[in-house]
Amino acid sequence: MYKRISAIVIKEFHHISRDWQTLIIVLIMPVIMMFLYGYALTMDLRDVPVIIVDPSPSTESQKLSSSINATELFAVTGSIRSADNPVELFKRYHAKAIIRLSPDFAADLRNGGSGAPVQVLIDGSDPNIGTILKNTMEPLLMDIVMNILDMQPPIVINVQSHILYNPQQKSALYFVPGLMAVILLMISAILTSLALTREKELGTLEQLLVSPLVPGEIIIGKLIPYMFLSALDGALILIVGKMAFGIEVAGDMISLATTSFVYIFTSLAMGLLISTIAATQQQAMMMVLPATMLPTIILSGFIFPLTSLPVFLQVISSVIPATYYLKIIRGIVLKGVGISVLWQPAVILLAMGLFLVTVSIKKFKVKI
């Protein structure tokens, strides 16, 4: 049996090495993606454009404007005397917030009473930015004004925040391990999904079938070379992550390697199942891209926090392999926890992979 499987493995390796263009794509693409996304995927808001409407400029309003500009979060991109139609301002200047001061801002400020009225208009189209602006604007303005007036804000509670696992709040640290989950799954699934359909289309599958090989051997033989290729990709991603973004694996490498192999196995099995269902390569492609790309990006917790999803989607996300692998890889890389904490998602991944392979072999047998 080993001999026959190794024959298939060797045959598949020949296929891969002959198609060197695909090989280059498979090995170079993840590296480029890592570079681009490692830098680009940053959620830190900086220099959010703000326009100040100031009908009667005064020293106080000038100070207010420059203090807002001095923060990292905001950049004052314009200061105008009057705004008849603020909606127009949002469309024309792409401002995210408009701060409207009253004509008697300076006087109101000193008079006390009910306080100087300030209207803050926020572009809520992006709810995330809208929420952040809504939460930060009022305390910020209050702080600045207190400062201008030389007042001491009353202190009742000091909140001391400690940020764990990613103390510098670098987005790359969060996204790069996540990217590993996305890239490994996609590469593995794409490669295997076409492996069997190609033989179907070329008619060589029949030749394989009349050979003494049993379906299980063909399928396992097809999986092994791609497993090797994907593992190579995984190692490449880790090396680039370390060299370009200084990401050190906080946990142990053995846990990382074993769990990654399990994940690659499950991803390959997904591709395999698709390739037993699809009759042509086109069909396989139409299935593999939608079935893997968006769910893996959106429903796995790669970007959007899982807890924010509605319950029925949390159920769906629990059948997506990437959901579990993300838990594992972030746990190992960022938190430094080991297999003793993460065995549960690892076992689920393995079970998924075994299930998918069994179904593929069954389906394959039925075809014969």
Binding site: Q21, I25, I32, M33, L36, Y39, A40, T42, M43, L45, R46, V87, F90, K91, R110, G115, A116, V118, Q119, L121, G124, S125, P127, G130, T131, N135, T136, M142, M146, P154, V156, I157, N158, V159, Q160, S161, L164, N166, Q169, Y174, I190, R198, A279, Q281, Q282, M285, L289, P290, L294, I298, I303, F304, P305, T307, S308, F312, L313, K335, V337, V341
Partner: protein, 375 residues
């Protein structure tokens, strides 16, 4: 018959004969609109939090209540020790922890105030930042209420302390609903995937089947083949665009404040690029596998760098410059502006120009490449 209509007719026959592909063009797309419409939320909700209360006074109780009653947090069992907090954070049971010290109540009215420790699982910089913001807002609200009570005891009012009256007003999406922002973007994503995949397969399919050579010996010019191959998928894309628009408006109840004509104008210009990307990939690649890998790679880059969920303005300057060639970015921006702000072409002409240029370059390149192959 003229060459181009002839090619179109041929391509439609191909599509019709492959009923499985038609099904794949329709059902997964509907399913994805439905699921993703609900899934695409960048709100931070249900953040798990546990509190360790060493003070156990009415004041600390009332502070904890203001957190446990807040719908943004998922309040978990109280923690008994530092070790417990740390291990629960490690396991992912909680993402935040708050520690109220023993001297909390006595220090509240001191000059320097009472200290509270907040531990945050900071893996995801965005959600931990937003959740910290919520906690700070809750604490500051509690603090104001507490101060007010204390001042009233002394017969003063709080207003004398506050020189400013901030009145925030949120425009365009007053309830800050994620769907309003994300569903228009979803329209863009799906139209991109469908059109680029379909056109991407069209030429390489004939390469593998060996029928491309037959096409080449006919009097058809490369231009005829390219246009004949794209126009059918352009029609398919246009129908899906209408469908997505209806779905967004009728099912997800997203307000459409702009002009329909502007929307479709942008759609047509955009499909020039998205179909072009597919066709270009298809002419360059040798096998369907290569097409798939290349399109996946291009789409991943274009989608993640489009401002879909991470504002392009956040990215480093050089990345922002690179994204000028990204048609998804401009279409995404335009569609959201048209939907939510009702912006017209007067504000969006720049985006239209960028997209047109990309489209022309991509199409031109695929005709050129096809020429070389054919010649």
């Amino acid at each position: 018959m003229k060459p181009i209509p002839l090619m179109i007719w041929k391509e439609f026959k191909h599509i019709r004969s492959d009923s499985f592909t038609i099904k794949l063009m329709v059902f997964p797309v509907i399913l994805q609109v439905l699921i993703m419409g609900y899934a695409l939320t960048n709100e931070v909700k249900n953040t798990t939090i546990a509190v360790m209360d060493l003070s156990k006074t009415p004041q600390s109780r009332s502070l904890i209540e203001s957190i446990s009653h807040n719908y943004l947090f998922n309040y978990r069992k109280e923690a008994g020790s530092f070790q417990e907090i740390r291990s629960r954070l490690d396991q992912g049971d909680i993402r935040m922890a708050m520690i109220i010290p023993q001297d909390f109540t006595t220090k509240l009215l001191h000059r320097n105030g009472a200290d509270i420790q907040v531990l945050v699982d900071g893996q995801d910089a965005n959600s931990s930042g937003v959740a910290s913001g919520y906690i700070n807002a809750i604490i500051s609200r509690w603090q104001t209420a507490f101060l007010k009570k204390e001042m009233e005891k002394k017969g003063m009012t709080l207003q004398t302390l506050i020189p400013l009256q901030v009145d925030p007003l949120i425009l365009f999406n007053p309830l800050l609903k994620s769907t309003w922002f994300m569903v228009p973007a979803l329209v863009v994503l799906l139209i991109t995937i469908v059109t680029s995949l379909l056109s991407g397969l069209s030429i390489v399919k004939e390469k593998e089947a060996g029928t491309l050579e037959q096409l080449m010996v006919t009097p058809l010019k490369p231009v005829h083949v390219i246009f004949g191959k794209t126009i059918p998928y352009f029609l398919v894309g246009f129908i899906e665009l209408c469908f997505f628009l209806l779905f967004a408006i009728l099912w997800f109840k997203i307000p459409f404040r702009g002009n329909l004509l502007t929307f479709f104008l942008f759609g047509v210009i955009y499909m020039l690029s998205s179909l072009g990307i597919g066709i270009l990939t298809s002419t360059i690649a040798k096998t369907p596998q290569q097409v798939l890998l290349l399109i996946w790679f291009i789409l991943m880059c274009f989608i993640l760098l489009s401002g879909f969920f991470i504002p392009v303005e956040n990215m480093p300057l050089w990345v922002q410059k690179v994204t000028i060639v990204n048609p998804v970015r401009w279409f995404m921006f335009a569609v959201r502006e048209i939907f939510l702000k009702g912006s017209g072409i007067g504000f969006l002409w720049k985006e239209a120009i960028y997209m047109t240029i990309t489209g022309i370059i991509v199409f031109g390149a695929s005709i050129l490449f096809f020429h070389r192959r054919a010649g």
